[in-house]
Symmetry: D2
Subunit: 152 residues, 4 copies
């Protein structure tokens, strides 16, 4: 790692899990409502997007902040799935998000990058783009725990 | 204000707006999907809740973090509505959330409190409870701007 | 715990450690430069203050943000000392701070409150006052680990 | 701007201010104590470093978190100086920092990058390295205001 590239090395990267993420694992709950689609997965990186539907808009024609926060929360932990042992689960501890511009109808795409990973804790950064404009930046922490131990 | 009570004084508090919030202004977008209901409004404080429906749950029986983040984002700005001039609009700049415990089926209730308010910027703190257990704590910044200027 | 009081119960509270903190354990590093003095310690709560000396001020007569950030970081972890097993150490994972008003010469006092505590992770909130005005609000996470494992 | 480069374009970049920053403007307060030296300045980017002196260390041989937080807070706003109108001043609103690894004796170097800039508000990301290891990541908001209006 050089000082210009904060991405750490990863001991493990399970290509099959990456492929399962791309082929569209069945979504449940909020990600299903939001229509999140995973478009790229790599070691310590992933990108997902959703269609900003009319029903996400407030009367001013912009999406509620929770749409972006929900997408960010989703990829905050999901980027870890190919990196962690089978049966382990990423549970979000916390994140912080800056809203940089309004989100309009169109595509909302966000990328998550692992900048620090130990056995139990990982830290990620997230960029979000709406119709190619940077609209959000987030940073957060995930605990790597056994299934059922936390919040997915 | 004493050192034990960080709540500032407010120059303005519009009871009619508070009542409109309580009587259930028509929700759109994500808040409508989440089923957010405002239960208390006061000067610089508000509480809202939602029913954690089965469809919000992941396969482990806990709600996606975006449900709590969406609720938090909603009350982060809405608490300002009775405090700001007519026609002004609260646009979320940023917030940070700590997930403290998993969210299960039942009621998810969150309160927002204004701890700092100037003409253009306000800072709020949020507590969230699921079935009376503290499950989340958030803190964030909102810019007070004219309608259509930002993200609601 | 009621919904109006997010303070959890604590299994352990070592009064001798609290008294040692109050009697002025020798400070090193930045806390010594800042002149941090612990003024109150209780179960899951502590208060510390410092004298905003002329040398902390910038040319506009206000203290550098790092003074408040340094004080906040200090009490973020120190509040845990009476609550955790002997030999364990609180290491800051992350925190977020909002600067609410400028800090002038005088007293800068900050209180830390534990809002969530498990064996390994604790979350705290911090309020800071300068000459009785609320000037900062912070929230952060600390990992409870064995000595030498992290950043104090 | 492409989706892989979140750096915005800047209307203004004052090379003389950048050179003054590099030639060592007189530091006051905490930055002087910390011995912060600016090593690179460019449009929307800057790097500064400090020598982690023995006096910054706690008994475990690691630097207090406030050293890194103080450095981060400093470059959070300073990176804006060449970009904003003469007489304007960057005042930190808030920032969030993740501590990724302990900071030992040696060099602590941090870079700040502007990811969003409007007339009144800017958002920056910060990476910090200690002896070439990534030790911190921060993200924060700065209000651009007239002199004396805020916290430097």
């Amino acid at each position: 790692m050089t000082e210009t590239s904060p991405q750490p090395n990863f001991d493990r990267y399970d290509q099959r899990i990456a492929e399962a993420m791309l082929s569209g694992m069945a979504l449940t709950g909020l990600p299903d409502y939001l229509g999140i689609v995973v478009t790229e997965v790599g070691p310590g990186k992933m990108t997902a997007e959703l269609d900003v539907r009319k029903e996400f808009l407030n009367p001013f024609g912009t999406a509620h902040g929770g749409v972006l926060a929900g997408l960010a929360d989703h990829i905050l932990g999901a980027v870890l799935l190919p990196l962690i042992p089978s049966g382990a689960w990423p549970a979000s501890n916390e994140f912080k998000i800056n809203y940089l511009a309004p989100v309009y109808e169109g595509t909302l795409r966000a990328s998550s990058e692992v900048i620090s990973l130990s056995k139990r804790i990982a830290v990620m950064r997230i960029d979000a783009f709406n119709n190619s404009r940077l609209v959000g930046a987030a940073q957060g922490t995930v605990t790597i725990s056994a299934p059922r131990a936390g919040q997915a």
